[in-house]
């Protein structure tokens, strides 16, 4: 069995891991690095539960192989809070009850953070289109969208 030695950065930390060519970045994060905040939903790029940042791009980690990420910077949900202090999006998701079962939440938070970094003042339509690849079967999305827009307003100082 061939295993590939990969060096990358995860949430700012330099890490090394061994992976098989069939393993996805999602498999590596969860099974090799034990970062289980990133979830597997569909494993086919449809649901967004496994969303992470790869070199500044929002991607589905189920559609990236572990062997591909050599020298890449990866950001996961585990890197979002600053120690015990929640990211404003995390706090607003709580305030707005923008989750029920919580399975889609890590992916939605990572995706929403990517949106606000690119666009600090998104419209509701822009927010809904940006998050169209993150499926939630509990909330009906409305509370999620409100939480994101409220976070954006707060971060703009309004």
């Amino acid at each position: 069995m061939t295993r590939y030695h990969v060096s990358a950065t995860v949430n700012g930390d330099e890490i090394d891991f061994l992976c098989e060519p069939e393993q996805t970045l999602l498999d590596v994060l969860r099974d090799e690095l034990h970062l289980t905040g990133t979830k597997e939903g569909c494993a086919s790029g449809d649901c967004g539960a496994c969303s992470v940042m790869l070199d500044g791009r929002l991607v589905c980690s189920c559609l990236v192989t572990g062997a591909e990420v050599g020298d890449c910077a990866i950001e996961t949900i585990e890197g979002m809070a600053d120690g015990e202090r929640l990211h404003p999006l995390q706090q607003k998701f709580l305030d707005h009850a923008a989750l029920q079962c919580g399975y889609c939440t890590p992916g939605l938070l990572v995706a929403a953070k990517a949106l606000l970094e690119r666009n600090p003042d998104p419209t509701e339509t822009e927010t809904r289109y940006w998050l169209a690849g993150n499926l939630c079967r509990c909330t009906g999305y409305d509370k999620i969208v409100r939480a994101v827009l409220d976070t954006a307003a707060e971060m703009r100082g309004e």
């Binding site: 192989t65 062997a67 050599g70 940006w130 993150n134």
Partner: protein, 320 residues
């Protein structure tokens, strides 16, 4: 026992990915009894040599189709060649007044390229229709073309734009029109060891506009039931002097019906010309019945999509 095999497939000089081979007797082999090997060459020549060495090799660009097929066991390649470490594959450059787009350039990167977007908005809107934000971060035009789905959104837009695919292979480089690459569902005209390296969008004539439209039963995140790409050029008196029309999802591969283009050429793209375009596009469609649309529905919608895409292309040509 682990032995170092020494293949360095990382970026630059620093080895970031090395290969280890476990020679233990209980090694689990890849599906189909053949172990899958991952390679990330840094030169086109090395990529071609790898693909030529293994008839069961596959190219990995964005992986948004390949990884799904691997997971579903619909393919069992013994070799995956990641082309994203090859600079040319990921570059957007100017060439003789046109643009050369690497086959591994992502939808997100092309959508952020203001110069390309202002010249070829139809190509960009087609590529950006593919999947979610997450998919856009990875998906490529090279992959969209070589996956060879009849419903590929970027393909009719590229055909309408007159894009040329530059193919690298064991016998060197060759250029073919994009419309000649896919030959049917999942099939291409690429020969053993060949891969699409880039696309050339030739210098655009003044007063040219392009557009792509597709029909899906919802707003986002779906596969085209019908797709239509139109590119047209006007003279100073607003008469159409050149046009290309391409239709997706209504045949085994994207079509480029001459009669549809001829319906526009020599006209001011008025109601009569658009009606003729619509008729010609519907007449060219040879769709199947499936869960996403009946044959009859697709034939009708083909004419509607072609007409609406032409109207957008016309407005863009007048504004250009």
């Amino acid at each position: 026992m682990t032995t170092f095999r020494g293949a360095n497939c990382g970026l630059g000089a620093k080895p970031v990915c090395s290969v280890f081979t476990d020679t233990g007797s209980n090694a689990t082999e890849g599906s189909g009894g053949v172990e899958m090997r991952y390679e990330a060459p840094e030169t086109m020549k090395a990529a071609v040599a790898l693909l030529a060495s293994d008839e069961h090799g596959r190219v990995l660009a964005g992986g948004t189709d390949l990884l799904v097929q691997l997971r579903a066991d619909t393919i069992e390649p013994s070799l995956v060649v990641d082309i994203k470490k090859i600079d040319e594959m990921c570059a957007i450059t100017r060439e003789n007044g046109g643009f050369r787009i690497g086959a591994a350039v992502t939808g997100a990167e092309l959508g952020e390229h203001e110069a390309f977007k202002s010249v070829w908005p139809g190509v960009v809107e087609a590529l950006e229709l593919i999947g979610s934000t997450q998919i856009q971060g990875r998906a490529t035009m090279g992959g969209n073309l070589c996956n060879a789905s009849p419903a590929a959104d970027s393909v009719p837009a590229m055909i309408a734009a007159g894009a040329i695919a530059t193919i690298e292979g064991p016998d060197g480089r060759r250029d073919v029109p994009v419309g000649e690459v896919a030959t049917g569902p999942g099939r291409t005209s690429l020969r053993a060891g060949e891969l699409v390296a880039s696309f050339l969008f030739p210098e655009q004539a003044p007063r040219t506009g392009d557009a792509y439209l597709r029909f899906i039963p919802r707003t986002e995140m779906d596969i085209a039931v019908v797709g239509a790409g139109v590119c047209l050029t006007l003279d100073d008196s607003d008469v159409c002097v050149a046009a290309k029309v391409s239709l997706g999802a209504v045949a085994a591969r994207a079509l480029a019906p001459e009669a549809a283009a001829k319906a526009l050429i020599g006209t001011p793209v008025d109601d009569a010309a658009l009606a003729e375009l619509s008729r010609a596009a519907s007449a060219a469609a040879q769709p199947i019945d499936d869960k996403r649309g009946t044959r009859e529905f697709r034939i009708q919608v083909t004419g509607v999509m072609a007409r609406r895409a032409a109207e957008t292309a016309l407005a863009r040509a007048k504004g250009a």
